[in-house]
């Protein structure tokens, strides 16, 4: 079945009407030097049957590994109902509807999502989501700089995911914004309060838990940033917020902007995406917040209705002066997240978080009992931890993988100062037997 609605005859008629000889001629204004030409590395089109077979073969190569990698994407149990409901025809669209107000069900769902995220993070408002955690952090940096109206510097601890820091750098480097990296304490793995004068800065980013799985001293850091004229951007794992203090309650005044990746809430790992970024903030910053916002109102007859609101900040109205060029949201994954949170409820999410925390503690204790394995940091963690091995990490991970275990994320490239460091994660999906199996296999790998 062709998915292009125009027949050859339609195309010929349309070209004749505008006096163009061919479709290619419509792109004449692009100089030949800027055209890619034939993409020799891209294979010819395949049939559905062929592509389906290829994809299944590729998927089979992944095998059925027992996964202990976290580092930004987390394997959680997703109740079957989540995607069963998400993929119903009424919801199954990847995009924010353009004729938004005609899609009351979609708008209500986004409104409920925003309510849940605002509640989870302790903030006043939430947008309808952004692309992913890294770009959400970059948008938060831009937002803090816009709101500050002066300082072009943002303090970025090295305990923020290296991938996120790279995304932020890519998005802000041509906008004269300086990212000042803050070192971590080598013993605790947490970011100490800066003792030097940091000068004027628009915001301090506080990752909680940080990339090492360690909890930062959020109250002290928040109060320090506010006392020095900067705002606080909280970068959080949404699952952890079921147990930890909401960023809105950090320090005396709370964080100002909260961002993170929503993947842990109902999205499968799926080789890296699609995930989504969430962003919430205090009411005072709402006009600086990028992205769509759904509001609840009443119509002329007093009946409840949902509508996109505060659109004057957005690109389709404010053009080049818009707060951001983000005009969309991750509708489908947010739908799954909203259903996931609805099915689990606050108590369910708390159990997921608590079990993940307990499993990681148990795994850490078992691994650190193996000769040649030590815990890297004294800091208290959520559901990830760093261990140091007595030999390079890569061959050890290869040995584990041969036994069907993905042993963790190798930190040696991004944090060479940590030596043979491995970031491990055990979510609620792991049983006591799984943890024991990992410990046994690691012990074997290290005894060779």
């Amino acid at each position: 079945m062709p998915f292009i609605p125009h027949t050859d005859e339609d195309v010929t008629q349309m070209l004749a009407a505008i006096g163009a000889p061919s479709i290619d001629a419509l792109f004449d204004e692009i100089p030949a030097a800027l055209r890619s030409g034939k993409l020799t590395q891209v294979p010819e089109a395949m049939t559905e049957m062929e592509i389906s077979r290829l994809m299944h073969e590729r998927a089979d190569l992944d095998g059925r590994q027992l996964n202990f990698i976290g580092a930004g994407a987390y394997e959680h149990h997703i109740p079957a109902a989540v995607w069963q409901i998400t993929t119903r025809g009424e919801f199954y669209s990847a995009y924010t509807p353009y004729q938004a107000e005609a899609s009351q069900g979609t708008l209500q769902l986004i409104y409920e999502y925003q309510t849940m995220m605002a509640s989870l993070t302790g903030m006043d408002v939430s947008n309808a989501s952004l692309y992913d955690g890294g770009s959400a952090l970059a948008e938060a940096v831009l937002m803090a700089v816009r709101a500050h109206k002066g300082a072009m510097r943002v303090l970025m601890p090295k305990t923020v995911s290296p991938l996120y820091r790279a995304v932020v750098r890519a998005m802000v480097k041509n906008q004269h914004i300086e990212l000042v990296e803050l070192d971590y304490d080598p013993d605790s793995g947490a970011t100490p309060v800066p003792t030097a004068d940091m000068g004027d800065f628009a915001a301090l980013v506080i990752p909680q838990p940080n990339f090492f799985g360690v909890l930062e001293d959020v109250d002290v850091l928040t109060d320090w940033a506010h006392a020095n004229g900067g705002r606080v951007i909280a970068l959080t794992n949404p699952t952890s917020l079921a147990l930890l203090k909401a960023p809105g309650q950090w320090g005396a005044a709370g964080a100002d902007i909260v961002v993170g990746d929503g993947q842990p809430l109902g999205a499968p790992l799926s080789n890296g995406g699609p995930y989504y970024g969430f962003m919430t903030c205090k009411q005072a910053l709402v006009r600086q917040m990028p992205g769509r916002i759904v509001g609840r109102t009443v119509d002329l007859e007093g009946k409840q209705g949902f509508t996109l609101t505060l659109q004057a900040r957005e690109q389709h109205i404010r053009r080049s002066k818009a707060t951001s060029n983000i005009c969309t949201n991750q509708g489908l994954v947010v739908t799954a997240s909203t259903i996931y949170m609805s099915l689990l409820g606050p108590e369910g999410l708390k159990r997921v978080a608590a079990t993940s925390h307990a499993n990681t503690r148990s795994l850490l204790a078992q691994l650190c009992a193996i000769p040649g394995v030590t815990q890297a940091f004294s800091g208290y963690g959520f559901h990830e931890a760093v261990v140091q091995l007595d030999r390079p990490v890569v061959p050890v991970l290869a040995a584990l993988q041969a036994q069907g275990i993905l042993g963790g994320h190798d930190l040696s490239a991004d944090y060479p100062e940590l030596g043979n460091a491995l970031l491990i994660c055990a979510t609620e999906t792991k049983t006591a037997a799984d943890l024991q199996r990992y410990a046994q296999q690691l012990s074997l790998a290290l005894s060779q």
């Binding site: 109206k149 006009r287 004057a312 900040r313 109205i317 404010r318 002066k321």
Partner: protein, 129 residues
């Protein structure tokens, strides 16, 4: 639409009033608020900010559009009306009472270069056609 004779005007629809102390107070005209519709948000410049003539320095946002407000003349902001920021609808109620900010002009003669009520009236009429 009212265009008070004792005020000066800009082509971008700001009104300018010269005060006894030589400072000038700025707002948007009744015509401008009529075009924009119900006001929902106002953001004034901070006191102490130096403005060049024609510089974007404030934002008014209505249910229909967001629009920049420009500095009519060069100067430094000496006052900002927080009342219009908390109650933007006062601009719709009386655009000439709902002042936005006050400037101490770099050169007080600059005000004379602005449009008078008659010229502004002509501009409004020409834009209507």
């Amino acid at each position: 639409m009212s265009i008070p004779a004792d005020l000066k005007y800009t082509a971008s629809h700001e009104w300018v009033k010269t005060n006894a102390d030589g400072t000038v107070t700025v707002g948007i005209t009744a015509h401008a608020q009529d075009l924009l519709g119900d006001m929902v948000f106002v953001e004034n410049p901070v006191v102490g900010r130096n403005l060049a003539a024609g510089e974007e320095c404030a934002v008014v946002e209505s249910v229909k559009a967001a629009s920049d407000v420009y500095a009519p003349i060069a100067g430094v902001v000496v006052a900002s009306n927080s009342d219009v920021e908390t109650s933007p609808e006062t601009i719709n109620q009386d655009a000439y009472a709902a002042w936005m900010f006050t400037i101490k002009p770099t050169n007080s003669a600059d005000v004379a270069g602005l449009m008078d009520a008659t010229a502004y009236q002509a501009l409004v009429e020409s834009e209507a056609h």
